[in-house]
Symmetry: C2
Subunit: 492 residues, 2 copies
């Protein structure tokens, strides 16, 4: 076990922080609640972002960019949305600093540079975007608008955690406009499916697709669709949301269009987003006590090669073989690094790359050269095997695919084992206490019951699963009739 | 001439705004000085950004992300830098809104949510980054650090112009750390060359490389290197800067490293950036009175195909041919759109795509089908030619290359014709008044003279060219001795 990383069993929360910091994904910063995403972590984000971006474009979306600031009068226009975010907004009130007359070399806010209207640093962009769409939309011919934005947003959280909950975070927010309710709902579901496909196929993390209860809805939405994933401690994590906004924002910003019958109608809207929070989910779902375990398809580095040698003569022989292997791997699109830095020993390097979750480590020594072999170690299972050099690059790409698939299979098995039905209150409480995961139970459909269950168990309704079965039953708390099970869990 | 676009000769400034708005690159927003980058403009930015990113990575750089906010106490640590930006900073002072007790549905800033220390929205990130590097750097083994960040920054400008000067803009900022002054200077020059290569080879815009005078230096730099381009009105535009920061930030943030002799030294720094301002330069350098003219290598759309037909029968024949052509072009990596929207006439479409600067337009009608030809129109020269369908995709890719090259050649010729030597004051003033462009003249090396010339002529020293020839001469204003000519121009 790595001495630097706290064991999961000892302190799960510290384990998570250690993975992020020691795995060099991110660092704390001098700004309360904000983090620095380090190059290794940012490359991971780039890989995720680029794949999502390809999927958005393949489904007909284009990117644009809207202002960071939202004038207060626009921000408050959609009341529910404003109310939902008002308590966590960073506010710009001034536009100039000046020299502090009392402390040489120091600056103070210039009281004469007070803004007439305060600016909200965007916590989400519906307001500024729908105020813009008003000028883009006149007739049904201008619809649909299928726009996405990659941006930073700020939500002033009181309790922050690296990646999972930071005051500033990076995300994408899609904002689409449609001429019918049906088309907008279809878009909402389509993007939920894009998210699910990405998280499952690229992050190797199975999800449950569902709808949020009214109580857990996005502020200003008619319906919030979500994907929910399970972490190793049995808690759930909301990995992405897709909102059907109805005509709420169109009405708040007076965005109407002339339909085919030449009549004015309000425009239908969706918005959908995932953020750097996904990295938190990725880390918690797959990693172990030695460090990060990253799925090959998005790992910043897929293969590391470490030479083991005595003296220059052995090194030269190894270098020749490695050079050829690297060329072959790069030709196949594999990212690979040869770490022949002689300041550190192989054992130290092994631990280092395990900590950083590099999917495959290849070690090559003098005996390997003699035998025409290498030692290949998988990060996920930590299994080692000797492989012949011939056709090695094909073996490696095959192994990368296999790792990706097996990581998903293990996570899927874990998920399946952790969706448990409960049919009475005692069972329900016991499952949440002792086993964790999703507990599938009947609920009477009221806010009141939902909040009471949360108070009693800390569990929330993660979603009403899209693929749930209609079934007569009784609410786990009140015994009132219910027609569908929902998924409860304690959550991040 | 397009009715929608003001002629250059009539009102150059309005012409520029018309190109941006009517060409659908960007829009004004509800936030003072901030713009909305529309999908077409953002695709252009993506093409530019992606190529720059490849060039940064090819030169060994990695991306990272640092906080949007800079605590005031960090911001003021490097005094010259702080002084340079203090007058244009957006300041966050509060972190919460609350309901306005006097106006239902309205929000006010919660006076109880005042920050202990104000946060500056980054106008540039040296302060927050060097405060972070302090924790990353202990020994020479930790150097160099070659990090870049793509981000939004805010500078509260009083007079704003779309792309050229906006309160918020998108950019990249490289921040590197080195163990020697020589290595840092080498990095500064290397990135200047990367910028020059990008602007010349991708934006088809020739530049002059040079060094800024002390008076025009980046606040906190030891030396600012720059690339300067010429616009069609004879004004210069600074297209990118690369700064050698010496040990200024290392000293301000106490960033030291143990060198190979085990002695503590301050770290050497560079920073370098280009922004969405480049789009302003691109637009002004190449466009004409019909609209945008965009270089093929970065154009959001390279080829548009427009069918000209009567009745469905003709349309079907055209569709078949076009489908094949599109497949061939896409295989060759060409971006292409088939605009067969029957809501608008071909003539209207021609004007539309000319306005948007699409490099090649292909029109195909019934007669073309009979003759196995198409009509190909170049946006840059507006020349039309009939081309055989056979091998058409090869012809088109060849033509795209040719357009790219000829756009550069024309801009290069214009630049060469607009670098004019002046050997006395009258000549100097006359050139600036009547011809514009760069005026190459001797200067006595003092801030005083530079500022006096600016007052008299509005011209500034754009740079001391790197490739300038050593030559004895006399200052154009004071007659004092000088050993090298510098380039003066009125500038954006």
């Amino acid at each position: 076990m790595s001495k630097e990383i706290t064991a999961r069993s000892q302190d799960y929360s510290q384990w998570y922080n250690d993975l992020i910091i020691k795995g060099e994904l991110a660092d704390y910063s001098a700004v309360r609640g904000c983090m620095v995403i380090k190059p290794y972590g940012f490359t991971l984000w780039e890989n995720m972002r680029d794949q999502l971006d390809r999927m958005f474009k393949a489904t007909g979306h284009v990117n644009a960019y809207f202002p960071l600031f939202v004038p207060k009068s626009l921000f408050e226009a959609e009341e529910k949305n404003a109310e939902g975010f008002a308590k966590e907004c960073a506010i710009v009130t001034h536009y100039r600093l000046k020299s502090d007359p009392e402390h040489k070399g120091k600056l103070i806010v210039d009281p004469e540079a007070k803004l007439e209207e305060e600016l909200v640093v965007r916590p989400t962009s519906e307001a500024i975007i729908w105020n813009t769409y008003k000028t883009w939309i006149q007739s049904y011919r201008d619809l649909p608008i299928l726009v996405n934005q990659w941006a930073n947003v700020v939500r002033w959280e009181m309790r922050t955690r690296l990646f999972l909950r930071t005051a500033e975070f990076l995300w994408q927010e899609g904002h689409t406009a449609h001429s019918t309710s049906e088309e907008a709902v279809e878009e909402t579901v389509k993007m939920l499916n894009v998210y699910a496909e990405f998280v499952e196929n690229w992050m190797a993390l199975p999800v449950v697709k569902g709808i949020k209860t009214p109580n857990e809805r996005f502020a200003g939405a008619v319906d919030t669709y979500c994907i929910e994933a399970l972490m190793q401690d049995g808690k759930a994590l909301q990995a992405g949301t897709s909102h059907f906004l109805g005509q709420n924002f169109a009405k708040a910003f007076n965005v109407q269009f002339l339909n085919k019958d030449n009549k004015l109608e309000y425009v239908w809207a969706t918005s959908w987003g995932v953020s750097t929070r996904l990295i938190g989910a990725l880390v918690m779902a797959h990693s172990d006590d030695e460090g990060l375990v990253l799925p090959p398809k998005i790992a910043p580095l897929q293969v590391v090669i470490i030479p083991i040698y005595k003296g220059d003569e052995q090194k030269v022989l190894i270098d020749v073989k490695v050079k050829e292997l690297i060329r072959e791997l790069k030709d196949k699109g594999v990212s690979v690094k040869y770490d022949d830095n002689d300041n550190s020993r192989p054992g130290w390097k092994f631990a280092e790359y395990e900590k950083k979750g590099v999917p495959i480590r290849i070690a090559i020594g003098a005996r390997d050269i003699a035998n025409n072999t290498v030692e290949v170690a998988r990060r996920d299972t930590r299994e080692k095997q000797t492989m012949p050099m011939d056709n090695l690059s094909d073996q490696i790409t095959g192994l990368l695919d296999q790792i990706q698939q097996e990581m998903y299979n293990r996570a899927k098995k874990y998920q399946e084992e952790h969706i448990t039905p409960a049919n009475n209150w005692d069972e329900f409480v016991k499952l949440l206490d002792e086993k964790g995961g999703f507990v599938s139970a009947h609920w009477d459909g009221t806010d009141e019951t939902e909040l009471q269950i949360k108070e009693l168990t800390k569990a929330t309704i993660r979603c009403i699963p899209l693929e749930g079965i209609e079934e007569e039953g009784k609410c786990i708390l009140t015994g009132k009739p219910s027609r569908k099970r929902v998924l409860f869990a304690q959550a991040y």
